[in-house]
Amino acid sequence: MGSLLNFPFLAAVILAGIALYILIFKKNMIKFIMGIALLEASVNLFFVALGYREGGGAPIYTNSPAGIMVLPVPQALVLTSIVIGVSILALMLSMAIRTYRHTGNIDTEKSRRMKG
Amino acid sequence: MRFIVTSFIAFLAYLLLTTASGKVALWSSTEIIIGIVFALITGALFRNRFIGKNFRMLNPKRWFLLIVYLCGPFLWALAKANIEVVCLVITGKINPGILKISTGLENDLSITMLANSITLTPGTLSVEVSEENGDLYVHWINIKEEFLEKMPRDCKSVCGNFPDWIRRIAG
């Protein structure tokens, strides 16, 4: 049970592995961007899971004797990270659209012009 | 007029969200002030969207009828529909088809209400709506055989007495 309790961590790192698989093997630009989104999500999940405390409530003072709370700082960091992620996704997708207009293709191999 | 009505509805929605925050009849004074400010902003922004071309929805009688309709015939039809669908899920006997029905309703709101109602009620699902007149194309999961003969489809057997209710509410 000991290692099974770490399951959210495990899930997060397995997600990172899947994202890396996409990033290495998938040549479609939009798929590639999805890989980055997955990587982002996995790191976020890892961060929030780090801050979980057994039996803790949300870090908001709602109950009069404030009980155990989960850690607030990872949540704040993840909020920042989520918005950063969507900014990166938007910019990359715009670049993919632009590439398609110039080359008629969004394959990273077929649309490339620079090498060597 | 539109502005006032939209603001008022926004204010009501805000009050619903912030219930039990204070002492002034369940709300605190700051919440009410902020609610008014927000309601004014919302009203200024969406007055042409929220209220259509006419004001017939402002009649409180229609609101009362809407609530009665939702709690009475609609809920009953919903329950019946679900039991029917559950039966179909278990038995697997279906007899589907897409039908065109004329509802005779004119304005957008009533067509929307009817379409959403029949989506949720016995065996029917609105697939397409005609942009010119209020004709609905309905996917029916279990068509009765005798229904197919008449070409101007009978609205009554598909949607029961919903059009009457809706005509009284929004028509």
Partner: protein, 120 residues
């Protein structure tokens, strides 16, 4: 105690309808019929579950007195229900229309007026 039993009945009903919805997704042959299952049953299941929530929180409210936060809880659950009631059928309509326009035909359909209309 009786209130608890009523709550349990409603929860069981809600879970049953949700289960039927997802089973219906597999039993039915084409996507229009699946949409029937996926929309109607989940909506009704949600109504039952939220009624359970309302009963429970109102009972707590009555027991503990008016200042309990449970009242807000039931109100917010009710708002969620309204949101589901408005968005679910509209979404179903949008999906059905999109599916028909993208060329998915109803399986085993005995009549298709819209198809005739398009061809005419």
């Amino acid at each position: 105690m009786a209130i608890d039993i009523i709550t349990y009945v409603f929860i069981a009903g809600g879970c049953f309808f949700n289960l039927m919805a997802v089973i219906g997704l597999h039993r039915f042959p084409d996507f229009y019929t699946r949409l029937h299952a996926g929309t109607k049953c989940t909506t009704f299941g949600s109504i039952l579950l939220i009624i359970a929530v309302l009963i429970q929180s109102i009972s707590i409210w009555v027991v503990e007195g008016g200042s309990s936060p449970q009242s807000i809880l039931s109100l917010h659950a009710f708002i969620a229900l309204i949101a589901i009631l408005v968005t679910n059928p509209t979404g179903a309509h949008a999906i059905a229309r999109a599916g028909h326009r993208s060329g998915v035909k109803p399986v085993k359909a005995i009549v298709d007026d819209l198809e005739k209309e398009d061809n005419a």
